[in-house]
């Protein structure tokens, strides 16, 4: 592995850790600032297929399918005093690992894979939710910074074991 690759891996690991921190600490405006105006933010519905048939997710139906405008609506909503689903907010902890640089054009664009595990605890409930999956992220270099231009989150459950997706993946 050459030094550029090592640096790039470090750069994107830090990016993803910083992002996780913002989401876990409910800094939605700062989080939203990490997004590129071209953003596509998608989470397809996972399905049980017969045997080894692939892809084992839907190409027509999504739990998230946002662009920058609809994502903005979600962020703005969480700031109104009526966003009951996250009031008080869930305690979340996002674990990001297995970061791999798939494509890299220096100071241009990058494709990065990673694993994500979200621990979610609400109120006094002793049950917790776990949301596990893989991200494929695309970044564009924009005004001197890497911005997220596409996120594809492949969740590991066909029936989600969480009361809603009022949180981001």
């Amino acid at each position: 592995m050459n030094i550029e690759k090592v640096l790039a891996k470090y750069t994107f690991e830090q990016w993803l850790y910083d992002e996780a921190k913002l989401l876990d600490e409910i800094e939605f405006d700062e989080w939203f600032n990490l997004m590129h105006p071209d953003l596509r933010y998608e989470m397809p519905v996972r399905v049980n297929k017969e045997g080894m048939e692939r892809p084992d997710y839907s190409e027509d139906m999504f739990a998230f399918q946002d662009d920058i405008n609809t994502l903005k609506i979600r962020v703005d909503r969480l700031k109104t005093e009526f966003a009951w689903a996250e009031m008080p907010p869930s305690r979340t902890r996002r674990f990001v690992s297995n970061v791999r640089i798939v494509e890299l054009e220096e100071a241009e664009r990058a494709v990065v894979d990673s694993y994500l595990l979200i621990y979610r605890s609400r109120s006094t409930d002793i049950h917790h939710d776990l949301i596990s999956g893989e991200r494929r992220d695309e970044f564009k270099f924009f005004n001197g910074e890497w911005k997220l231009s596409k996120r594809f989150f492949l969740v590991d459950q066909t029936t989600l074991n969480t009361r809603n997706l009022a949180i981001f993946v």
Partner: protein
């Protein structure tokens, strides 16, 4: 006089029913909290409601081609819904008739035949047993194939909705739905509708009736629970959900019709299709429809919602099943439907609006699930029963039904009412007592 040391577990079934009859008073608007949280009621309900009535399984458009199948749950039992090579849709218990292995484990697929993973018996998609490995040798040619077909499940359809039942003597589906079909037509039969993609599924720690009840009558909660949506300008104002009609139909079905709407909520290109599929009166209601929210007893709800997304008004249509898993747990399964012949861009925008508002990430949906889980929590345990805590369902009891509405049923010209919940629990109680 109501006893305070009551324990349903120690009662006979007859005594439980007697106690229900004494404490559940739908006509008076009295619904006790224990019916949401007591496991004994949940078990009795499974027997008296879920094993008796018609339950939703899927939509015809999910299996458009011969050989297509889906696997679904019918009151806790896995069933295969398959379209045979003859185009006929049939239901089968998902169990091999040899020694009981589950025959099919995919959600969906296309197969002319099902081969059991245990010993390899093969069944045609019309249920017939057609192959047994080495049968001549090991059964001496004596195996009776005819008696070993898959167990059939009773199914029937209305406007593409496939229902099944375990009842050996069910009321015909068409009669069970009755007059309420007039409104079901508006939701899913206004023209050729198709399901897009697989249904979305998620599990919440909520009693199933809370969802069914919310959709059958509760327009009132929109002001507060969904207050954020009005704040964002996606719907007119916090009281927008009051205007319109609430309709109670027989067998516990009911819906809420949001009217009027200054704009046509559906693709205008399809007006000739709507006119062809609907009566004049139905079309008139459709033309003025702002939203339509209802429940087909017991646990299938439908929703037509018209919101403003990115400055443009768009409607989306969904059906959802509140599938009980335990007394305090259900799987919510949501199907998105769209007009088959709508312009592609309209379909795309309608799906986008659905995902943003009523999918598991939906900004309407998420606030509801928060409420459902907390009601369930408060209804659980011995106290709601022993202290006889009750809910108040008296809203709108003073109202007199209107006579001049275009559609059938008992119609009130205000959506803020609990008449439909009273109607829902009345039928629920009838079934529990039967």
């Amino acid at each position: 006089m109501i006893k305070t040391d009551i324990c349903l577990e120690e009662m006979t079934q007859r005594e439980i029913i007697q106690y229900l009859d004494e404490t559940v008073k739908p006509d008076k608007g009295v619904i006790p909290a224990y019916i949401m949280g007591d496991p004994v009621i949940y078990d009795l309900e499974h027997k008296k409601v879920f094993l008796k009535t018609w339950l939703f399984l899927g939509h015809e458009s999910e299996i458009p081609n011969n050989g297509d199948f889906i696997t679904r749950d019918l009151a806790g039992h896995s069933v295969i819904i398959s379209r045979g090579d003859d185009g006929v849709i049939r239901g089968f218990y998902n169990m091999c008739t040899h020694r009981g292995m589950k025959l099919c484990r995919a959600d969906k697929g296309n197969k002319g035949r099902f081969t059991c993973p245990y010993h390899g018996f093969t069944f045609k998609n019309n249920g017939e047993l057609i192959g047994v490995p080495m049968q001549k040798d090991i059964y001496g040619g004596n195996l009776d194939y005819k008696s070993m077909g898959l167990h059939q499940v009773t199914i029937d359809m209305y406007k593409g909705l496939i229902f099944g039942t375990w009842n050996d003597n069910p009321e015909p589906l068409s009669e069970f739905l009755g007059d309420f079909k007039w409104y079901i037509d508006l939701a899913v039969g206004r023209t050729h509708m198709e399901v897009v993609g697989p249904p979305q599924r998620f599990v919440i720690h909520s009693q199933w009736k809370i969802g069914a009840d919310n959709f059958v009558s509760d327009s009132y909660h929109t002001m507060v629970t969904h207050g954020s949506i009005a704040k964002l300008g996606m719907v007119p104002n916090a009281a927008y959900s009051k205007k319109g009609y609430q309709v109670s139909a027989k067998n516990g079905h009911g819906c809420n019709i949001g009217m009027p709407n200054p704009v046509f909520a559906f693709p205008e290109e399809l007006i000739p299709e709507y006119k062809e599929n609907l009566s004049d009166k139905q079309f008139e209601v459709l033309s003025n429809l702002k939203n339509l929210i209802g429940t087909i007893f017991p646990n299938l709800s439908f929703l037509v919602s018209h919101t403003e997304v990115k400055g443009e008004a768009i409607s989306n249509t969904t059906i959802r099943l509140w599938r009980p898993i335990a007394v305090n747990k259900m799987e919510v399964i949501t199907w998105f439907l769209v007009e088959k012949n709508a312009p592609e861009d309209w379909k795309r925008r309608s799906r986008e609006a659905f995902i943003l508002t009523f999918s598991p990430s939906g900004i309407f949906e998420q606030d509801d699930t928060e409420v459902f889980t907390d009601i369930t929590d408060a209804a659980s345990g011995p106290i709601p029963l022993s202290k006889n805590f009750k809910y108040n369902y008296t809203m709108g009891r003073h109202r007199v039904p209107v006579k001049d509405f275009a559609g059938p049923g008992t119609v009130y010209n205000d959506k803020f009412s609990e008449a439909n919940s009273r109607n829902f629990y009345r039928y629920w109680l009838d079934l529990m007592k039967a």
